[in-house]
Structures are given as C-alpha cells and as structure tokens.
Amino acid sequence: MSIVIADEPRTAPPPPEPAVPVRNYLNNNYSVWSWLLTTDHKRIGILYLVSLTLFFTVGGIAAGMVRLNLLSPSGAILTEDQYNRMFTAHGVVMLFLFLIPSIPAVMGNFFIPMMIGAKDLAFPKLNLASWYVFMIGAGFAVWAVLAGGIDTGWTLYPPYSSRYSHTNVTPGVFGVFITGFSSIMTGLNIMVTIHKMRCPGMTWGRMPLFCWALYATSFIQLLGTPVVAITLTLLMVERVAGVGIFDPTIGGDPLLFQHLFWFYSHPAVYIMIVPGMGVVSEIITCFSRKNIFGYKAVAWSSVGIAVVGFLVWSHHMFVAGISYYSAILFSFLTMLVAVPSAIKVFNWTATLYRGSITFQAPMLFTLAFLVLFTVGGVTGVFLATLGTDIHLHDTYFVVAHFHFVMVGGMVLAYMAALHFWWPKMTGRMYSDFWSRASATIIFVGFFLTFVPQFVLGYHGMPRRYPNYPQEFQVYNVLSTAGASVLGFGYLLPGVYLTLSLFFGKKASANPWSATGLEWQTPSPPTLHNFDATPVVVCGPYEYAIAVDQMGRGLPEPPGPGSAGDPASHFGPTGPCGPIYKETEVVG
C-alpha cells in the first residue's frame, strides 16, 4: 500500500537510550579459554573477523608481489616459477579463506540472530566447530602455499595438478576440502536459524534484506559445496593413487573436472557477492532515510541469483573444448543471471532517488560498490557472449572483470558492513575523516589498478604470464601504481579501527538511527542480545515514518547537530530536503 506522510512527523517518540549493561559479550570473561570455547555467535563472529583479516593480509601481500613483478616486462622480482606460486597463493587464500567466508561467517554469525530477534544461532556448538574446521583447513592451505607453494593456479586444473605438478597440491587441496565443511556448517546454521528462530511478528515479508541474502547464500553453500568437496577428493585420488579420472592418458576426462569444479565455483561467486548485496540493501536505506524501493523484488532476486547461478557454469569453459551446442546454451543461460542482478541495482538506484543522502563511510563504500559492481556486471556480458569471450578468454580482461565484481563489489561491501556495524560490535566509534578518506582512496586506487587491465586484456595480454611485450608496460605500471594506492587505502582501516578500540568515542545503541532489531540492543550487545524477546510490528525499513521494527521512534539521524558523531556535513536531512516522503510500507 502507499501512504502519504504529512509535513509533521506522526511517530512515536524514540525509546530512551538503553542502559549500558555492566556485562556485555566482550567483557563477560577475559580468559583465552572463554574465547576459544565460546558458543556465543557474537564472539565466534569476532574470531572469524580476526582470522579473515589475517588471511586477507596474506593474500594481499601475495597480490602486491604479483603486481610488483609485473612492473618489468621480464619480471621485476620473481622467477617464473615463483610467480606461478605467488598468484596461486593469492587466489587460493583470497577466494577460499577470505571471500567465501567473509560476510556470512563474520557478519552473518554476528548479526543474523540479532536481526531476527533471536538469542543465538540454532546450533551454537556447530557454529564453534565451523570456526575450528575452518582454521584447520586454512592451516593446511596456508602452509601449502607458503611452504613451497602451489603452481597450478587456484582452479587446480588437471591433468597438470593431478599428475605433473611437483608442488604442494595435495595439502592445499586437502585444506580447501576441509574449509568446505566449515562453509556447509555456517550455511546450515544460518538457514535453520532463519527458518526456526524468528521472533514474534518477524514474518518473511518483514525480514531484513540482509537475512534474505544470507538465506540465499546458505542455499548455494549447502547445495554447491559438497560437489567441490567430492571433486577435490577425486583429484587427490588421481594424484595420490593414479586412478584415471581426469587425466586422458589414463582414461580420464579433464573436462569432467572443469564441469564439476565450476558447478560449485561459479555459484561460489554468488556465495561471495550475494551477502554483499544484502549489506548494500541495509546501508543504502539507512543513509538515504528511505524505505527500500521494491522490497519483494530485491528479496526474491537474491533467491533468483542463487538458483540461476547454478545454470551458468560452463561459460568458464567456452574455449576448453565443449560442444558448440553446449556453449550456445550456456551463453544464453549466463545472460539470464544479469536479470536478478540488474533488478537489485535498479532498485537500489531508485531507493537513492530523492533520498536524504548522507555520506558517512558506510555509505561511501556502498556507493562505490554500486559503481564498481555495475562495471563488473556489464563487462561480464562481454564474457558471457560467446563470440567476444573467444577473444577475451584467459586475458587480463577476465582478471579485471572478476576483480571489479569481487573486490569492487564484495570487498567494498564487506568494508561497508564493517564500518556500518563496527559501533555495534565494539561499542566504539571510529574516525569519521579517516574512514571517509579510506573509502575514497580505495575507490580511486581500485579504478587505477583494474581499468588498465581491461585495456591489457582487450589487447591480448594473457593472465598468469610473468612476461609481456614492451608495449604493455605502461598499463602494467599504471596498474601497479593503483595497487599501491589500493593497498594504502586498505591499511588505513586497520589503523583507525584498531585505534578506535582504545580511543574511540563510545557508541550509542543506534548511532546511525537505523531501524533493524540489532540496533535495539546496547553497544556492544549483552550476552543474550535482548533482555526480552522483541515483538516486530512493521517492516524493516520504515525510515519514512521514522519507526524501528518494534514500532518505536528513531533517534535523530547523525548530523552536525550531534557534535563528534561520525556524521555527514550535509545535515540531518541531507542535501535533498526533508525526510518525510510518499513511501511504500512493507510488511
């Protein structure tokens, strides 16, 4: 339905600031064992946050080495063999140990129960087990890529990986195999929690879009991860026992590996990006002070991406030797996935339209996501098109496209989520200036890094080659310069977020004046999140009438009136006028 709000706000007054509890999840117990044996979803989220930050650093250093080496046409610092191992380390660590678990394991663990009004996830012990399993798998994988390395690329294509590589393929594959179980555990936990533990009034139509996104992600994790697990097992069987599965010289079919691998690994791209889309939906409404445009469309498009994402994998194999007919079929199917993705982008853009936009760090990261993800998506159409893919396949065009989606999209969404929910997680505010500076530097550095790679790829520079013709050097130097800027941009949050823990101003319960249930708890939250089970009475984004999901008024949005807050300089209602507008009420 559609209602028109008059000039005067007719909302309930905001609830009083909840009393800061003596005990919260952070200070309840300081012992190491209380962290290592915790079943509190919030602490497990923090454990994942620390672990993933470490792995992101390792993967980032590997990326830096790759880019440094490409400064020179003949390789600046690495031998060719070292180069192979370095880009494999970058791929394996970033994909399996950072991108896939990042938002589901950190933000999902921490916030899904709070957003649906639950005390914890459905299976707290399984949740802790998932972190241990992840760390064991990560230990194998990191040891494999650092102690000797793997030279196959993260895709581990046989028969090279299964028969001929003399590097640490087996422990690396075993590590990835183990981390897959962690992914399944997390997905299962989140899915069951959303089904079974929503508080009274939290219907599916009132559930925050972040929860919808994580639900769709869990669907992919549960259906796809076992496939890659068995694929990697078969790879190990061929490598260790010499059973002919993928190697054609002993009766195998290498394309079978690619089919099995990409049946998981393409949907895995959506495991990475769909949670980011959920984050964007949360932030874009909050910092536009508007209800989401097209709640149902955005919610169901998450499910649509999860389903259609399983139908498109062979576009990675267009030039691998699959049949013409299959290639045409997959080209068509790949185009389909653009539909739900575009639905989201259009709805986010419509949400921004005439919104009272403020430009705090979470919103800057989110706007950067919108731009970069759109570029990444549109360049994906070139690769989905059979004819152009033959020209662009395995070139730097693919590298640039992938990084636009994964880094420009997912990593920025992760940064947005981190900045949005940091006050809730830690109870501290961070530097407004430096956080916005970081978002801007990352955005600029990203463009400088990856736009030259589009040009390189179009002109035919293949990916994974340590050497290149002289005429490509200028683009490679530009890209490496951009990577330096990007790296500096990533370092900044590491500094100011850490400093905020010690010197940051204490955060209020709802510093962004957001509507979700997670903001109805103190910052940082108490042990069991809510003193009493919340009762939801309205939709998740009632910014137009300024009420939270429990029907209570919202505090004043951050602005110049609240000195010291990480507020925009554009004022509490933004540059586009007052916040009361014609709007659609969801739920």
């Binding site: 089919h259 699959i322 007919y325």
Partner: protein, 109 residues
Amino acid sequence: MSKPDHNKPDDPPTMHDVDKPATLFAVYLVVLGLAVANIMLSVAGLHNLALPVQLGIGTVQAVLVAWYWMHLRRGDQVVTLSAVTSLFFVFIFYVLVLSDVLTRWRGGL
C-alpha cells in the same frame, strides 16, 4: 494416532521415533557390502553393463544413507523438500553436462 510434531517443545521425540543402533549398523554393513560389490564388479568384465549396474548400486547406497542415516523417513515436509531440491539440482547438473558430452562429437570451439 497423529504423527508427533517435533517442533513443539512439549512433544519431544519418543523411543518410537529413534532408530535402533542395530538397524543403523545393519544398514552400514549393507552399504559397505555394496561398496565391495561395486569394486569387484569394476574388474568383472561387464563391459557395456558396467555403467548402469554400478550406477544402480551407487543409487541404492545413496538411498539407504538418506533414508536411514539422514532420517528422511522421519523427516517433515521441509526436510523432504530440501532433499528433493538437492536431487533437482543434481538433475540439472546431469542434463547440462550431457548437453556437452552428448554433442561434443559434432564439434566444439
């Protein structure tokens, strides 16, 4: 007698709803036996029959695991729907892979 609803806290599972260890162990032995049979059949020279026979044995193993160990025979509608959904995606995988395998002889890129 109506089927117990395990979602209600006041209606916990009874002994009737729990599989006996002997049953589960027997199923385990059957699955192991079928695995041994499958391995032996692979060197038995079945030629064209090898693929359907061995896939059939594998299917029986999977059904036993799902029916007994995954408790699908006691699962409610959501659990059954989840299992069917996974089968649906396996079906999609086979169909789309076969679109390549069955037409590859006509040429490819």
